[in-house]
Each structure stands twice: as structure tokens, then as C-alpha cells.
């Protein structure tokens, strides 16, 4: 379904790939990471953790950079 819009991977695949690769960094708000955790836990039984790095970088948008792990 997603590839019909643009791209070719599901959101779950993206996060699984990110959790297996330290060089992949997520930029999001704290609120979003909290939601992502709950969403994947409920629908996929997948547990993701988000460790913030470089907090000060994106303060004007309340964005933070996170390393993803499972």
C-alpha cells in the first residue's frame, strides 16, 4: 500500500532497520516517540526504545534526535 504513494517500505520496517543500525537517527518530538512506542507495542508487539542525542540542536521546533533500539 505504501509503495503506491511513494517509497517502498512499511513504517515498521523503517523502524526495525533503524534499530539495527546506529547510524540511522530519528528526528522527532518527545510526544511522537511516546506515541510510536505505544503504537508498535499495541499493533505489532514490537518494543522500541528511543535514546535522545544532541538535544540542543533542534530546540526551535521542539525536535530531538534519537537513536532507535529494540
Amino acid at each position: 500500500m505504501i509503495k503506491n504513494i511513494v517509497g517502498s517500505e512499511s513504517v515498521l520496517n523503517l523502524f526495525q532497520k533503524a534499530s539495527a543500525n546506529d547510524k540511522i537517527v530519528l528526528i522527532a518530538t518527545e510526544d511522537e516517540t511516546d506515541f510510536i512506542k505505544r503504537f508498535f507495542h499495541f499493533f505489532y508487539k514490537a518494543e522500541f526504545q528511543f535514546r535522545p542525542i544532541e538535544n540542543e540542536k533542534f530546540q526551535n521546533e521542539q525536535l530531538k534526535a534519537f537513536v532507535v533500539s529494540q
Binding site: 503506491n4 517509497g7 528526528i27 522527532a28
Partner: protein, 464 residues
């Protein structure tokens, strides 16, 4: 002397529309209205993994633009294409003000055209949005084909091909234009009869070509489009009625940025949810939506409303009763239709604004412009009111420009930080869409759209 005057007239006609675009760019600026156009633009530019397949956009345009981007990815071919189309429509609109006049009224014609440009067209120039351009161009070409008296067969065919290209920008916009202009076409047909048959047959042929493209597009992506429509329906569910965690998570996902997940963009899953919390065809919050629509029109389109009112009074004063009543029916038809579209389909400014503009241009095309000019020059109250509404419009535009510039500065800062931060890393962003709106369509931003891109609500997530 007459020949010299005609030459000057021709010179002004060809020089003023592009000059106005340049003036708008340097005085108030051009802005991507949302993330749709900027995403397409940069996805097409991607040197290694371009994305050419977009919803409601015919791939032929992507293919052509892609070939240009292969020559130079930093050159704004997308913006040039969209503004080229917009410039064409401005020429066509301008032609309604001049072709039917004697040179005696040239200055007055230019004055009226400038009023319409500042009061109504400038908004569509300021914001680069393919939907706005598709509506204005399709509509102005249809009006030109129907109302222009001196078109050769070859000119009709060229306009027909241009209409087909314009419809490829967004197919459904041609449907909307036909809906808006159908009464004007019927009125003209009742006057001209068979002499319009050739031009009408061209419009009808293009309409059916466009419909055939739409059917093919819809059959390929029916499930996805159905799901997206259902996602919109979710916004009308009474939140307090949802008690289970699954429903709450899905609703939150719809509101947030998780459009793209198969759990959400699956029509069956959504159907199950909507069975429990049904939503009517006219959405639950009808009263709120109606007030929103009225407020939107009064707040943003008071200038065009006033022009429409002046035209109605002019029709009342100058036309036979039967013809006046026919035009009153057209007014009622248009406003009922656009209200219905707005309330049911949740249309936005980028659809409502160009639609009202097109309706006003259609009214102007139905008028004997020369007698309208003569009549308005005698109505001092209208002239003063028109200038007052124009002043208010300029004030409104200034407020918008201040807002746009503030957003652009903020977004450029964020993009610079992201670009700086992303060196040597792979970046996944949840809401980049909100950080790329309001950018300048003629500036090159080093935004790299990677080969993996997932569309999310209000933005895109992609790797750099």
C-alpha cells in the same frame, strides 16, 4: 497615430503579466503553500532515486520534468513549469479585459485588470500550489474557448491541447471547472447556438480523455483513496465515544503522522472502526463546518464578493428581467455548489479561492465589458467601496506575507540544522513536511529526498 497606439497596446498586453509576476516575487514573495509541491519537486530532482509516481498527478508530467532535472537538478524546473502555466492563465484572463474594447477604454481596462490582479489573482501567484494553477488554467481556457469571438480552428486546437496539459496537473480540477462554468457555457450556447459546436466538442473530448485517465488512476489506487477518505471521516467521530485502546490509538494515529502504516491505511480496518462510530455523508459537525466556511469566504474573499455584488446590481440595472433571473440562478447554483463541496469534501482555500475567482471571471465574460466600464465610471459609491475593499485586501496580504516570512525563516533555520547534523548519518524524520512549507520555490535548498520515502500525515519521512 492609431497604429502606434495599437502597437503600445500589444506591447503592454504581452509585457504586463510577466512584469506583475516579477513584481509579486520581489515585493511579497513566492511560497510553497504546503509540503505537496516542494515534496514532488525535490523527489523529482533526486539524482539517484527519483520518485515519479504521485497521486492525482499524471506521470507524463513527472517524466518530462525528470528529463529536465537530469540536465541540472539545482535549476527550479518544477517552479518554472507551474508559473509558466499560471502566466498563461493570466494572459487569458487579461484578454477578457482588452479584446472587446475600443482603445478609448484601454486605460480603464488596465485599471480594472490591475484591481482584479491585486484583489484576487495575487493570492494565487504568491502561493505555488498545483491545485490552484490547475483550476485557474483549466477554467480560463474553457472560458476563452467559449467566449472568445475571433479564434481560428488552429488556435482552438492549441487551446484544447493546453487544456489537456492543464488537466494533467490535477485531473479532478477539470471536473470542478466544468461544474463551475456549465451554466455560463449554457447561457452562451443559448445565444450563439451552433457556432460553438466545434469548440464545445473539443472541450467535451478533452473532458472524456481526462475522465478515462481518472478511471484508470482510481482503479489502480482505489483502496488507498478509499482509505484516505475514511481517514478524513475519522475526524468527525465523537472522540468521547471511543473507549477501547485500539480505537484511541488509531484515532491518535490519524491525527498524528501515521497515515502510511498498513494498520491505518487499510480500508477494511477503517471500515470496522467506522461501523462502530458511524459518520454521515454530511459530517457530524455540520454547524461548525458551515460557520467555518462562511468565515473563510468573508475573511479572505470579500473583494471578489463585492465585485460579484456590483455585477449583480449591474445585471439588474441593464439586463432584461428574464436574463437577469437566469444570472441570479447562476449565482445561487454556484454558491450552493461550492458550499456543498466545501462541507462534504472538506475543501480548502486552495480550492475555494480559485473557484470564486473563476466564477467572477465567468460573470465578467458574460458582461458587455464596455458598458460595464461606462456604468461603473458613473457610480462613485462603487468606486470608493471598491478601493476600500482593495485597501483591506492589501492589508490582508501584508498580514499573510509577514506570517509566511516568519515561517520561512524558522523553517530555513531548521533545515540548515538538519543538513548540518545529517552529515555522515542516515536521518529519519517524522514531520519534515511542516518544515519545508513556505520555502521559496525559486531557491535551491539542499534537501535530499532519499530512495525510501513514506508519506505521513502533514509530512514525509525520508532518509538522507
Amino acid at each position: 497615430m492609431e497604429i502606434r497606439s495599437k502597437l503600445w497596446h500589444k506591447f503592454f498586453f504581452w509585457a504586463i503579466p510577466p512584469l506583475l509576476l516579477v513584481l509579486v516575487y520581489f515585493s511579497i514573495g513566492f511560497y510553497y503553500e504546503n509540503n505537496d509541491d516542494v515534496s514532488r519537486d525535490y523527489a523529482l530532482r533526486n539524482p539517484e532515486h527519483p520518485i515519479l509516481d504521485f497521486i492525482v498527478w499524471i506521470p507524463i508530467i513527472s517524466d518530462v520534468l525528470r528529463r529536465f532535472y537530469m540536465l541540472d537538478p539545482a535549476f527550479p524546473f518544477y517552479s518554472v513549469f507551474i508559473y509558466g502555466m499560471l502566466l498563461t492563465s493570466i494572459y487569458i484572463i487579461a484578454s477578457f479585459f482588452f479584446n472587446r474594447n475600443t482603445s478609448e477604454y484601454n486605460q480603464m481596462s488596465w485599471f480594472f485588470f490591475l484591481l482584479i490582479f491585486i484583489g484576487a489573482i495575487s493570492e494565487n501567484v504568491m502561493y505555488l500550489t498545483y491545485t490552484r494553477v490547475a483550476i485557474i488554467l483549466c477554467g480560463s481556457i474553457i472560458l476563452k474557448l467559449i467566449f472568445s469571438e475571433n479564434l481560428s480552428r488552429s488556435q482552438v486546437i492549441i487551446l484544447g491541447l493546453l487544456l489537456l496539459t492543464a488537466s494533467f496537473i490535477r485531473l479532478s480540477c477539470l471536473n470542478l471547472c466544468v461544474l463551475i462554468l456549465a451554466p455560463a457555457i449554457l447561457i452562451k450556447y443559448s445565444q450563439e447556438g451552433k457556432s460553438l459546436l466545434f469548440r464545445l466538442s473539443i472541450i467535451i473530448a478533452i473532458f472524456f480523455i481526462s475522465i478515462s485517465f481518472q478511471i484508470r488512476e482510481t482503479s489502480q489506487e482505489l483502496d488507498q483513496i478509499t482509505a484516505i477518505q475514511k481517514i478524513h471521516d475519522f475526524k468527525y467521530i465523537d472522540h468521547d465515544k471511543i473507549k477501547d485502546e485500539r480505537g484511541m490509538l488509531l484515532l491518535e494515529a490519524v491525527y498524528k503522522w501515521f497515515y502510511a502504516d498498513t494498520k491505518i491505511i487499510n480500508a477494511d480496518v477503517l471500515d470496522d472502526m467506522l461501523k462502530d462510530y458511524s459518520v454521515g455523508n454530511i459530517k457530524a459537525d455540520f454547524k461548525g463546518d458551515t460557520f467555518y466556511f462562511i468565515g473563510l469566504v468573508l475573511r479572505n474573499y470579500f473583494f471578489l464578493l463585492f465585485v460579484g455584488l456590483v455585477l449583480l446590481i449591474f445585471f439588474y440595472k441593464t439586463l432584461p428581467k428574464k436574463k437577469f433571473l437566469l444570472l441570479v440562478c447562476y449565482y445561487i447554483y454556484f454558491w450552493v455548489m461550492i458550499s456543498f463541496i466545501s462541507l462534504v469534501l472538506k475543501s480548502e482555500e486552495r480550492i475555494i479561492g480559485p473557484s470564486i475567482l473563476l466564477f467572477t471571471i465567468a460573470l465578467l465574460a458574460l458582461v458587455d465589458v464596455l458598458s460595464l466600464f461606462q456604468w461603473t465610471t458613473r457610480q462613485k459609491v462603487f468606486q470608493i467601496s471598491l478601493l476600500l475593499f482593495l485597501g483591506l485586501t492589501v492589508y490582508k496580504i501584508k498580514g499573510r506575507v509577514d506570517f509566511n516570512i516568519a515561517k520561512r525563516v524558522k523553517n530555513e533555520t531548521t533545515l540548515n540544522v538538519i543538513n548540518d547534523f545529517s552529515k555522515g548519518k542516515v536521518i529519519m524524520i517524522t514531520s519534515l513536511g511542516s518544515h519545508i512549507s513556505f520555502l521559496d520555490p525559486f531557491m535551491y535548498y539542499p534537501i535530499y529526498m532519499g530512495d525510501t520515502m513514506v508519506r505521513l500525515s502533514g509530512g514525509l519521512s525520508f532518509f538522507t
